[in-house]
């Protein structure tokens, strides 16, 4: 089963990377892109009996390790079985 974990800086935290990327996009002429925030993205292959269990494990992993909750928040998505069958 595959879980995806998105880790982003909390909105109140300044994002140096996102700022540099925004500036760079403006230099390239993409003024329509008003703001960029950069985060991390993890794909976890999980051996779990159910979506529920996969979600629980992914949430735990995110909370304990993948995110630093002082500055970051996270979100977990578990691929549903229909999605899973797509290559």
């Amino acid at each position: 089963m595959r879980a995806r974990v998105f880790v982003t800086l909390k909105p109140s935290v300044f994002d140096p990377q996102g700022t540099i990327v925004t500036d760079a996009l403006h230099t390239l002429g993409y003024d329509a892109v008003k703001n960029v925030r950069q985060g991390k993205y993890f794909e976890l292959e999980i051996d779990a009996g159910s979506e529920e269990e996969a979600r629980r494990l992914a949430l735990e992993a995110a909370d304990k390790l993948l995110a630093n909750t002082v500055i970051e928040s996270y979100r977990v998505e578990v691929e549903s079985s229909t999605e899973r069958s797509v290559p």
């Binding site: 500036d23 760079a24 403006h26 230099t27 390239l28």
Partner: protein, 744 residues
């Protein structure tokens, strides 16, 4: 599977090379065998075009412990210690993916050093790029710099110096040459040999993936439109894995349980297996099914040719296996036994017990083809060596500012600030100007290190240009007080199948040989990078020399910056009318023309002796050579370093170009010149010392004030506020990135 002509061709093997394979094997090769031959006989691994020339280099000397042929060279530095060093190129990979290409280049050369049993203590790099005005070049530049830092910083080896040059010819083919130096006990140097039948062959480090397959052949093939398809998956560096390998290997080496060890660099498992066997006069048998694999379904061909990074091959003495395994376990590394040493001189590769390749190890190494490729003096030289008419020169202050702003001369702080240059707490002279200096803990000694090259000079006269590179590197270490004791070289050229390129190459190697003989610098190793061309246009021929200088007393060193107000400034050496190949011509006139500066090797040798003597006795307080940008730029750099101004009056020079008298004195790049400062009371002493050494000397000025003032023959020609000039120079490179928000 039958081997068709097309398959042979796709492996980059010429028809006669394939014939040779058939004769050696006495049968048709398997596909795996063909792959093995193709990587081992590629230019990159076999040096088939360059070997006959490299043989002429001086490689011996009283201090040489290990000359060319091993993973790195080694010279004796006293106290029972050896300096182990080498330079490597990673040009092509750095163009395809600048960050990873440069990072894995750093990783590769570090492995070469610790493979010898040496603890790496310093890195340097020599880089070439196209003009920074181009966005693609900026991206490459920023990526390469970040990659070098990303790897070196993480593994904890300081990058203490380097050099960077810019020319249009490098736009599609940047150069990334990395130098590494380590320290080993002289009698504990370990070699890449396999011997002792029955000894186990171990694999340790990262798992093998499909990355870099055909990397070695790629490094030997010219870039063209089509190479985009051939591009193999880029290798991603893992400095953390390498740090573990480094520590674990050094720990294992302390036990004397190893027969030999070699890293898997270009041509991966293939190269390490057959080279270790050939060196030990032994055979090696391995089974690829034991090789740890990152991806499922890899074929023996892929496993043998993979260039996954951070892998080592070890031969362990019988009975010592568990000891070795335990040390690796401690570092969370799993050493895996993949085979053993045999007596039959064959490299035998099995897959699940079935033989998939069986080749004499020497066929792959010494048996590789050797070419005496045709050479012709290039036609461009006659025209290029003539200086065209230049019109009226621009005012000296304008030229001065333009030169300070040009990226080749501008401060490289934006770059070296991204490198940890202090980790290991040995760095006595930080990057900034001239050689980097690192102390050798546990002794009173230090080492001065410099890498140098000047493609413009070599383009205009390969023989003289290569000599000038040797001289500049040696002079840089001598300015710090280091006696040059060994050198390494990285020869970056175009396609050797063109007679003109081969001629450049051969002449450059002759030049290096002559200079090293005269200056007593044995070459203990190096690297050749050929086929540096984009769509048929070669790079400027660029041999890069790395020179190691020994400083007996680490408390007696000099750097380039002026030390105190009131000190006298002396110019060692002679200024001639020599604008050929200069940064002045390139920056102000867009020209790579003329005859490069003349180099008198005897005089250079005398200058080096004088510098070492003057610095080691404390007389010389600062020393900086006049290189790119000539006397004016050198004087400015001495001022920038410490923020002390200077006033100088230098003698006139007779010039062929009437209006160019001042330009020639200020910005000409005559060789064998050094600006030194001594305290005012000791000028006579310095003059005597110089006279004894046979080095021309002139007292030209004094340190002080907040301006840079230069007069020629008593007439003021340049008078610039120090602070403003310093700002131009120090911000120039960063401005390409910050102000334009260039993307990296």
């Amino acid at each position: 599977m039958t081997i068709t002509d097309d398959i042979v061709k796709r492996h980059g093997l010429a028809p006669d090379e394939y014939q040779r394979i058939l004769e050696m094997l006495g049968r048709e090769p398997t596909l795996t065998e063909l792959g093995i031959f193709s990587v081992m006989w590629s230019e990159h691994c076999s040096y088939k075009s360059s070997r006959v020339h490299l043989k002429t280099l001086p490689t011996t000397g009283a201090r040489v412990i290990q000359g060319p042929g091993e993973n790195a060279g080694a010279v004796d530095i006293g106290d029972g210690l050896a300096a182990v060093f080498k330079i490597e190129s990673h040009n092509h990979p750095s163009f395809i993916e600048p960050y990873q290409g440069a990072a894995t280049g750093v990783g590769g050369i570090i492995r070469d050093i610790f493979t010898m049993g040496a603890r790496p203590i310093a890195l340097l790099n020599s880089l070439r790029f196209g003009p920074l005005d181009e966005p693609l070049v900026r991206r490459t530049f920023a990526g390469v710099v970040a990659g070098i830092g990303g790897y070196g910083n993480s593994i904890g080896i300081p990058t203490v110096g380097g050099e960077i040059g810019f020319d249009e010819s490098y736009t599609g083919n940047p150069l990334v040459n990395v130098f590494c130096l380590g320290i080993a006990k002289a009698d504990e140097i370990i070699k890449g040999v396999a011997s002792g039948a029955g000894n186990a062959v171990y694999y340790v480090g990262a798992k093998t993936g499909r990355d870099g397959i055909h990397g070695a052949t790629m490094a030997s093939a010219e870039f063209d439109e089509k190479s985009a398809e051939k591009r193999p998956a880029v290798q991603v560096g893992d400095p953390f894995m390498e740090k573990l390998l480094l520590e674990a290997c050094l720990e294992v080496m302390k036990t004397d349980a190893l027969v030999g060890i070699q890293d898997m660099g270009a041509a991966g498992l293939t190269c390490s297996t057959c080279e270790m066997g050939a060196r030990g006069g032994a055979g090696v048998e391995i089974d690829v099914s034991h090789v740890p694999q990152r991806e499922a379904g890899m074929t023996p061909y892929e496993i043998m040719l993979s260039e996954s990074q951070e892998r080592m091959l070890l031969v362990v003495k019988q009975g010592r296996e568990s000891e070795v395994e335990r040390i690796f376990e401690k570092w969370d590394l799993h050493a895996v036994r993949i085979g053993e040493v045999t007596t039959d001189g064959l490299m035998r590769v099995k897959s699940d017990g079935e033989v998939v390749a069986e080749i004499r190890t020497e066929s792959l190494t010494d048996g590789a083809p050797l070419y005496h490729r045709p050479m012709t003096e290039p036609a461009y030289l006659t025209e290029a060596r003539r200086l065209p008419s230049l019109g009226a020169p621009r005012p000296a202050d304008e030229v001065f500012r333009r030169l300070l702003l040009s990226p080749g001369i501008a401060s490289k702080r934006w770059v070296y600030r991204q490198y940890d240059h202090m980790v290991r707490t040995n760095t006595l002279v930080l990057p900034g100007m001239g050689a980097g200096v690192v102390r050798v803990k546990g002794t009173s000694r230090a080492l001065a290190l410099s890498v140098d090259g000047n493609g413009r000079f070599v383009y205009l006269d390969p023989y003289a240009g290569a000599q000038l590179a040797v001289a500049e590197a040696a002079r840089n270490v001598a300015c710090a007080g280091g006696q040059p004791i060994g050198g390494t070289n990285c020869l970056n050229f175009g396609n050797p199948e063109r007679p003109e390129i081969m001629w450049q190459f051969a002449r450059a190697v002759e030049g290096i040989g002559a200079a090293c003989r005269a200056l007593d610098i044995p070459i203990t190793g190096g690297n050749v990078s050929l086929y540096n061309e984009t769509d048929g246009t070669p790079i400027l021929p660029t041999p890069v020399l790395g020179v190691v200088g020994l400083i007996e007393d680490a408390t007696m060193i000099a750097s380039g910056g002026f030390r105190s107000e009131g000190d006298s400034i002396l110019l060692l050496g002679e200024t001639l009318d020599e604008l050929g190949g200069s940064a002045y011509l390139k920056v102000m006139h867009g020209l790579v023309r003329g005859v490069p500066p003349r180099l008198d090797l005897q005089r250079e040798a005398a200058l080096l002796r004088l510098l070492v003597k003057g610095v080691s006795c404390g007389l010389v307080r600062s020393a900086h050579d006049c290189a790119e940008g000539g006397l004016a730029v050198a004087l400015a750099e001495c001022c920038f370093e410490t923020g002390l101004g200077a006033e100088a009056d230098v003698p006139r020079v007779e010039t062929a170009l009437p209006g160019f008298r001042d330009v020639s004195v200020l910005f000409g790049e005559s060789a064998s010149r050094v600006l030194v400062s001594v305290s005012a009371g000791r000028v006579a002493e310095m003059e005597t010392l110089a006279a004894e050494a046979g080095v021309p000397v002139a007292t030209v000025g004094r340190v002080g004030g907040d301006r840079i003032r230069i007069a020629v023959g008593g007439r003021a020609v340049l008078d610039e506020p120090l602070a403003a000039a310093e700002r131009l120079w120090s911000d120039a490179i960063g401005n390409y990135f910050e102000s334009q928000h260039a993307t990296g």
